[in-house]
C-alpha cells in the first residue's frame, strides 16, 4: 500500500466539503440538500481517517463510525420531515418554508 500524503487527503476532504456546502446553499430541492449534507459529513470522515492513518491511531476510524451513525440518524429524521413536507406543501422546494421571516 502506497502512502498517500496527508495533504492530498485534506485537499480531497476540503474539496468534498466545499462541494457539499455549495450543494446545500445552491440546491433548492430539499432531497438534494440532504444528499449534499451527507457529502459534507463524509468529507469530514475522510479527513478523520486520513489523520488517523497518519498518527497510527484508531481514534480517527472510531470518529468516522460515529459520523456514519450520526449521518444515518440525520437522514432518517430528514427523510421523515421530507415526506411530511411533500404531503403538506406538495413540493420539495426549501424556499417555501420561510415562516421564520422576521
Amino acid at each position: 500500500m502506497t502512502d498517500i500524503p496527508l495533504a492530498h487527503v485534506l485537499i480531497l476532504s476540503s474539496l468534498l466539503f466545499t462541494i457539499g456546502f455549495v450543494g446545500v446553499v445552491v440546491r433548492k430541492n430539499t432531497l438534494f440538500m440532504l444528499m449534499s449534507l451527507e457529502v459534507m459529513l463524509n468529507a469530514v470522515g475522510v479527513a478523520f481517517i486520513g489523520a488517523g492513518s497518519v498518527w497510527q491511531e484508531a481514534d480517527g476510524q472510531i470518529m468516522f463510525m460515529l459520523i456514519l451513525t450520526l449521518a444515518a440518524a440525520e437522514v432518517a429524521v430528514g427523510l421523515a420531515l421530507l415526506i411530511r413536507m411533500q404531503r403538506r406543501y406538495r413540493t420539495l422546494d426549501i424556499d417555501v418554508l420561510s415562516k421564520m421571516k422576521g
Partner: protein, 622 residues
C-alpha cells in the same frame, strides 16, 4: 359687617344670583336685582363719604381676612378708604348706578339680558376692589377682574367674529401692561419688602436705597418700579403705546362703552399712578415720561378722532385723549387736578356715550355719522343732552370740564416735570378737542337728514322716564360737577402753585376752544349745511390712515402678531419632539435592516453561517 366691606358685596350677591339662575329670571326681577344692588352700593358709598368728611380721621379701613403672606409681609383682603378712593367709589357707584339703570332699559330686548347685567355687576365688584384695595396684590385682583369683565362685555355678542377678536385684543393688550405691573410688584417687594400701598408710599420716601442708583449710570429701583407701574397704567388706560384696543372695544354694547371704556375702568391707570404717588415722586424722570406719554396720546387720539366715521369711535378716541390730559396732569405733579378731571370726565363721557346709545338705538343701530344728520329736530331732547356733554368736553366756561381742564393746563407751565412745551401740547389738544367735537355735532345733529326719510324713529327709549331721568342726572352732574370741591390734600401731595406764570396763559386757555369752534364753523360748513343731501366720507389716504388709528395696528401686526404666529406655526410639530423622534427613527432603521436579513430562507441562513465561519477562521488565523 361694616359699611365699607358691604360696598362690593351687594353687586357680588346680585351677580351670583343672576349667573346661577340665568334666563329663568324675568326682566323685571333681573333688572330690579342688579340695579337695586347698585343703588344700595351707591347709597352706601355716599354714606361712607359723608362719614369720611365729618369724622376726624382721614381714613376708614376694614379688614376682612388675611389672603396670604409673602414672607413677613401680610397680604390682606382689606379695604382702605381715603379721600382719593372716596372720589373713585362715588364715581364708580354713582355713575355705575345711572348706567345700570340705563342699561336695564337699553338691553331689555336682548335674550341674554340677565347675563349682561350679571357681568355689569361683576365689573362693579372688581372695580370697587381695585379702588378700595389696601395692598397692591388685591388691587391687582381687581385690576385683572375688570379686565376679564371688559373682555366678557366687549365680546357680549359673541356670535360676531369681530366682537370676539376685539375682546381678545383688549384682553391681551392690557395683559401686556398687567405683566409689566406684576414685575413692578416683584421689584417693589424686593426693595421695600412690603406690598401695602400706604407702607410703600411711606417707605419710598424714607428708604435710603430705594431711590439711589447703585452705580453711576444705572437707574434706581424707584425708576424701574415707577416705569413698570406706568406700563400697567398705560395698558389699562389705553395710552401710547398700548392704546390700540380701545377703539375696537366699542364693539360692546353702548352701556358697556359708557361704564367701562369711558367712565371707570380706563381711568384705573390714572388712579394707579395717583395712588402710588409716593413711588412716582421719587422718580421724576418717570413723571416726565408720564406727562409726555399723556401729551402725545392726547394729540394723536385727537387727530384720529377727527377722521372717524363711527360715532362711538369718535368718543373712544376722545376718551383716550382726555385720559391723556389726566396723565399729563399726573406727570406734571398736579395730582388733584388729574383726579378731578377723572371725575368730571366720568360724568360727561358717560352722558355722551349713553346719549349716543339712545341715538343709535333710535336710528335702528346706525352708527355711521355720515348716515345721520338733522337729528336736532327729530331728537331734540337727546340733542340737548349731547350738546351739554360736548360743551363739557371742549371745556366751555362754566361747565365741569372747564374747571378740571383749566386746572390741569394751569399747572403745566411751571411744573418741574412738565414745562412750557407740554403746556403748548395741552393747548393744541384743547383746540383739536373742540374741532372734532364740532365735527361730531355738525355731522350728527345739524345739516340735512341723511338717513331714509321714512325711517321711523324707534321710541321705546323716548317714552321711558327712568331712562331720561338717568340721562338728566348725568347732564346735571356734567354741568355742575365742577362745583364739587374735592379735598385730596390728605392723600396727594400738593401741586405747585402757578401764580408765577405769565398772565396771558389763562386767557389763551380759555379762548382756545372758541377758536376751535369758530374754525370748525367755517371749515365744516358742508357738514352743517342744509342743502347737502348725501355726504361721502373722504377716502384720501391720509384720512384713512388717521381713521385706522395712525397705523399702530399695522405696525403691531407686522412687528409682533405676525412674527409670533409665524414662529408658532413654524414649530407646530415641536422641535424637541422631532429631535427625540430622530432617535426612534434611528432605531427603526436598524430594525428594518436586521429584520430584512431574517428572510426565513434556510439556504440563506446556511450560506451566511458558513461564510461567516470561514471569515471568522480567517480572521483568527491571520
Amino acid at each position: 359687617m361694616n359699611l365699607l366691606a358691604s360696598l362690593p358685596l351687594y353687586p357680588l350677591l346680585s351677580f351670583l344670583v343672576l349667573i346661577s339662575f340665568g334666563k329663568r329670571l324675568s326682566w323685571a326681577v333681573a333688572s330690579w336685582l342688579s340695579v337695586g344692588a347698585m343703588g344700595l352700593s351707591a347709597l352706601c358709598s355716599m354714606l361712607l363719604v359723608a362719614q369720611l368728611s365729618t369724622s376726624e380721621v382721614n381714613v376708614i379701613t376694614s379688614h376682612l381676612w388675611q389672603w396670604f403672606s409673602v414672607g413677613s409681609a401680610k397680604v390682606n383682603v382689606s379695604f382702605y378708604l381715603d379721600a382719593l378712593s372716596a372720589v373713585m367709589i362715588l364715581v364708580v357707584t354713582g355713575v355705575g348706578f345711572l348706567i345700570h339703570l340705563f342699561a336695564a332699559i337699553y338691553m331689555k330686548s336682548d335674550e341674554n339680558f340677565t347675563r349682561f347685567m350679571a357681568y355689569m355687576n361683576l365689573f362693579i365688584v372688581a372695580m370697587l376692589v381695585l379702588v378700595l384695595a389696601d395692598n397692591l396684590v388685591l388691587l391687582y385682583l381687581g385690576w385683572e377682574g375688570v379686565g376679564l369683565c371688559s373682555f366678557l362685555l366687549i365680546g357680549f355678542w359673541y356670535q360676531e367674529k369681530n366682537n370676539v377678536l376685539a375682546a381678545r385684543k383688549a384682553f391681551i393688550v392690557t395683559r401686556i401692561g398687567d405683566t409689566a405691573m406684576a414685575i413692578g410688584l416683584f421689584l417693589l417687594f424686593k426693595s421695600l419688602s412690603s406690598l401695602n400701598i400706604v407702607e410703600i408710599n411711606q417707605l419710598a420716601q424714607t428708604s435710603e436705597t430705594f431711590s439711589l442708583s447703585i452705580a453711576n449710570n444705572e437707574a434706581s429701583d424707584a425708576y424701574w418700579a415707577a416705569l413698570l407701574l406706568l406700563g400697567g397704567a398705560v395698558g389699562k388706560s389705553a395710552q401710547l403705546p398700548l392704546q390700540t384696543w380701545l377703539p375696537d372695544a366699542m364693539a360692546g354694547p353702548t352701556p358697556v362703552s359708557a361704564l367701562i371704556h369711558a367712565a371707570t375702568m380706563v381711568t384705573a391707570g390714572v388712579y394707579l399712578i395717583a395712588r402710588m404717588n409716593g413711588v412716582f415722586i421719587m422718580a421724576p424722570e418717570v413723571m416726565t415720561y408720564v406727562a409726555w406719554l399723556g401729551a402725545i396720546t392726547l394729540l394723536l387720539a385727537g387727530v384720529a378722532a377727527l377722521a372717524q366715521t363711527d360715532i362711538k369711535r369718535v368718543l373712544a378716541y376722545s376718551t383716550m385723549s382726555q385720559i391723556g390730559y389726566m396723565m399729563l396732569a399726573l406727570g406734571a405733579g398736579a395730582w388733584s387736578a388729574g383726579v378731578f378731571h377723572l371725575m368730571t370726565h366720568a360724568f360727561f363721557k358717560a352722558l355722551l356715550f349713553l346719549t349716543a346709545g339712545a341715538v343709535i338705538l333710535a336710528l335702528h343701530h346706525q352708527q355711521n355719522l355720515f348716515k345721520m344728520g338733522g337729528l336736532l329736530k327729530k331728537l331734540p331732547f337727546e340733542s340737548a343732552l349731547f350738546f351739554i356733554g360736548l360743551a363739557c368736553l371742549v371745556a366751555l366756561p362754566g361747565t365741569s370740564g372747564f374747571f378740571s381742564k383749566e386746572a390741569i393746563i394751569a399747572s403745566l407751565w411751571l411744573s418741574p416735570t412738565a414745562g412750557a412745551s407740554l403746556w403748548w401740547c395741552a393747548i393744541l389738544g384743547a383746540l383739536l378737542t373742540s374741532i372734532y367735537s364740532c365735527r361730531l355735532f355738525f355731522l350728527a345733529f345739524l345739516g340735512e337728514q341723511r338717513f331714509p326719510k321714512d325711517l321711523v324713529i324707534s321710541d321705546h327709549l323716548e317714552t321711558n322716564h327712568l331712562l331720561r331721568g338717568a340721562l338728566v342726572v348725568l347732564a346735571l352732574l356734567s354741568l355742575f360737577g365742577g362745583l364739587f370741591t374735592i379735598d385730596l390734600s390728605t392723600v396727594l401731595p400738593l401741586s405747585n402753585e402757578s401764580e408765577l406764570s405769565p398772565g396771558w396763559l389763562h386767557a389763551v386757555a380759555i379762548i382756545t376752544p372758541f377758536i376751535g369752534i369758530a374754525f370748525s364753523w367755517f371749515y365744516f360748513k358742508r357738514y352743517r349745511s342744509r342743502d347737502i343731501i348725501s355726504l361721502n366720507e373722504s377716502q384720501s389716504s391720509w384720512l384713512v390712515f388717521c381713521r385706522n388709528g395712525l397705523g399702530f395696528d399695522v405696525i403691531y401686526r407686522f412687528l409682533l402678531v405676525k412674527p409670533y404666529c409665524f414662529i408658532t406655526q413654524l414649530n407646530r410639530r415641536d422641535l424637541f419632539d422631532q429631535l427625540i423622534m430622530l432617535s426612534a427613527w434611528y432605531v427603526e432603521i436598524w430594525r428594518d435592516v436586521l429584520s430584512a436579513s431574517q428572510n426565513g430562507r434556510l439556504r440563506w441562513f446556511a450560506g451566511t453561517f458558513g461564510l461567516s465561519l470561514v471569515g471568522l477562521i480567517l480572521v483568527v488565523i491571520l
